[in-house]
Symmetry: none
Subunit: 417 residues, 2 copies
Amino acid sequence: MRAEIIAVGTELLLGQTVNTNATYLSQGLADIGVDVYFQTVVGDNAGRIVQAIELARSRAELIVFTGGLGPTQDDLTKDALADYLGKEIGIHGPSMDKIEALFSSRGMHMVESNRRQANCIQDSFPLVNDAGLAVGNALSQDGTHYVLLPGPPREMKPMFNGPAKEWILSILGEERRLYSRVLKFAGIGESSLEQALLDLIEGQSDPTIAPYAKEGEVAIRISTKAVSQLEAGARLDAAEEAIKERVGKHLYASEDIPLEEAIVRKLRATRRKLASAESITGGLFAELVTDIPGSSGEFVGGVVTYTNEMKHKLLSVPMTQLEGPDAPGAISESTAALMAERVRELTDCDYGVSLTGVAGPSESEGKPVGLVYFGIAERGKQTEVHTANLSGSRDIIRLRAAKSALYRLWQRLDNEK
Amino acid sequence: MRAEIIAVGTELLLGQTVNTNATYLSQGLADIGVDVYFQTVVGDNAGRIVQAIELARSRAELIVFTGGLGPTQDDLTKDALADYLGKEIGIHGPSMDKIEALFSSRGMHMVESNRRQANCIQDSFPLVNDAGLAVGNALSQDGTHYVLLPGPPREMKPMFNGPAKEWILSILGEERRLYSRVLKFAGIGESSLEQALLDLIEGQSDPTIAPYAKEGEVAIRISTKAVSQLEAGARLDAAEEAIKERVGKHLYASEDIPLEEAIVRKLRATRRKLASAESITGGLFAELVTDIPGSSGEFVGGVVTYTNEMKHKLLSVPMTQLEGPDAPGAISESTAALMAERVRELTDCDYGVSLTGVAGPSESEGKPVGLVYFGIAERGKQTEVHTANLSGSRDIIRLRAAKSALYRLWQRLDNEK
């Protein structure tokens, strides 16, 4: 079944609100095997809402609206659709009772317009709103199915996940559902990943294989339609195997978790602890790791030594190492190694990770923007240092530096497991 | 001029990516007086992209695309539009040079598909991409104007704000332009700010006054249409004065800069240096400050003491202060004070800022989620400690904690200037 999402609200067209509803609904519909082909945003204008409905009818069987169910004069979705379908508007008794009860319990005078929230299009199925006052609607006419949800996400989500999804599933009937799995990769770019999997992607029919990039990481979603989890699982496993054969060394998780979470889990499993010494990333590495709830068991903390003086003061890196005509400088392999070793010793951890480099906008120590060194020190082992030449804006170089260091650490932990 | 935004990308229809580009562009277009009537999302499918173009042409004079300019086979925006307009695809020389130089400088083999990123529709104006490889396009045909921007926000934003906006403004020609000014506030919520300015907002006609919240900060945009900067400036100044009278103590900048940048500037002006000791924010405070280019002159670094052991080891906070039945604990006013003082001493800075608290998901030391203490130590002065009770998810609490600490520091610096 093809679906289209119509988000109604002038605030979206003014850029005052981000259309997270469309994202949420697309995901939820994909999960039950409904393909979203278009998302449309239209303002609070009856004529343009009808225009959007006409268009959506021509290219989808299911139209899901969010927004425009509230009490005010510019909440027009139900009126516009009823008008378009040639139907009357009625009142949903239980919703009206709820509205009246709420106002009387608070001793508040009810503005007449609040009654509008109990409106139901004639012959529609009311979708109860557990988190607000505006009742939703679901109805079918001439082979098109319509679902009307409120705009506020905290009302929309429970209504969609509860009565709306149930109604949609009843229409789908016994159709096969879509099952998918996300594979997460690090240390490889989106286009290289796609290149390595080109034969699979081009030859794909079922399961489908779709790469996508997000925040310094790369993911692949493999999806298949099946009648059961068991049937789907076997097909997804086979696709995952074929992908692993080609790019297995970059695969860090078969679920949608960030790289830092994979690392925290690995450290937890082996009861190891980690500390960091950051220059270029200025705290971002630590921030990413501590963003994982419960990471304090594995990540103890570290230092942000942004200046040479701090590298010397907090980590005892000799000034002769950092400054002077023959010194390697702060941005060097040997400084990265020293930083990693010193923070490990200082914190008495199993691993110390360091990051030093040039985030830009201009070069530093005569070294180019994007040059980064990562050190990984381990108790009783040889320290390793990696180099990367990263591109992008200052922000993105910092993010890529942090993710690259995480990837090197993940490789190290993986080799030792 | 009426505009429509077409975001291209199957990841949007699958709900894997939130369409923040549409929000950003809607806001940016509104700023220069262009009204957005529809936003559309379409997948990576040439037929459906053409369908979206046809429709948009029927209801808008300006069509702004984002996405689908990348190297892969499903990046189709340029091909689809060229096809629709009956134009050839050419190569933008400087962009191709940049792509080739990048790959050769890294000694990497260039996958052929990367050349696609230098594609330009015949007769189009190339929009240079300073943050990535895919060149944008702008062109007019038969009274419709087309602007093609990349999908990744970090590439899209500078291209839109730079060459794309300039091109659109040149089309708008001699019309009265919209001039606006952004005022940035801290230490006050969006609704309190709106409440304090209610008379101005309700009585507004010209300039318009629009509050909006973003990333732990609150901003007001005042806008006016005028024929010159001079005419606009006088009106904007008067509006800013009226706002200052009401909420001046929360206003930290009359331009759109983050709070951390205002602090770096203030420190620079007074030649002071800052260090941080973070627990709850795990590096986020340092990361925000070091995100400002050139901040190493003012921010030397600091420590992330995520565990009690590290607070003791790196900052010499006594264990009796942190643990034991009668100890104040890590999340306490006195620990915040000690952390701020010790990091200041350790780094020999003018200011030490500390953050300790509970980010959640569950309480810690029997203290509730959202409780945060901030310490500010200054050389030769009394240390101050502030408390906040923040709400939101773990991420949001961490961000709000960092911004609250920045606000307290900004107040301190402001009082001393």
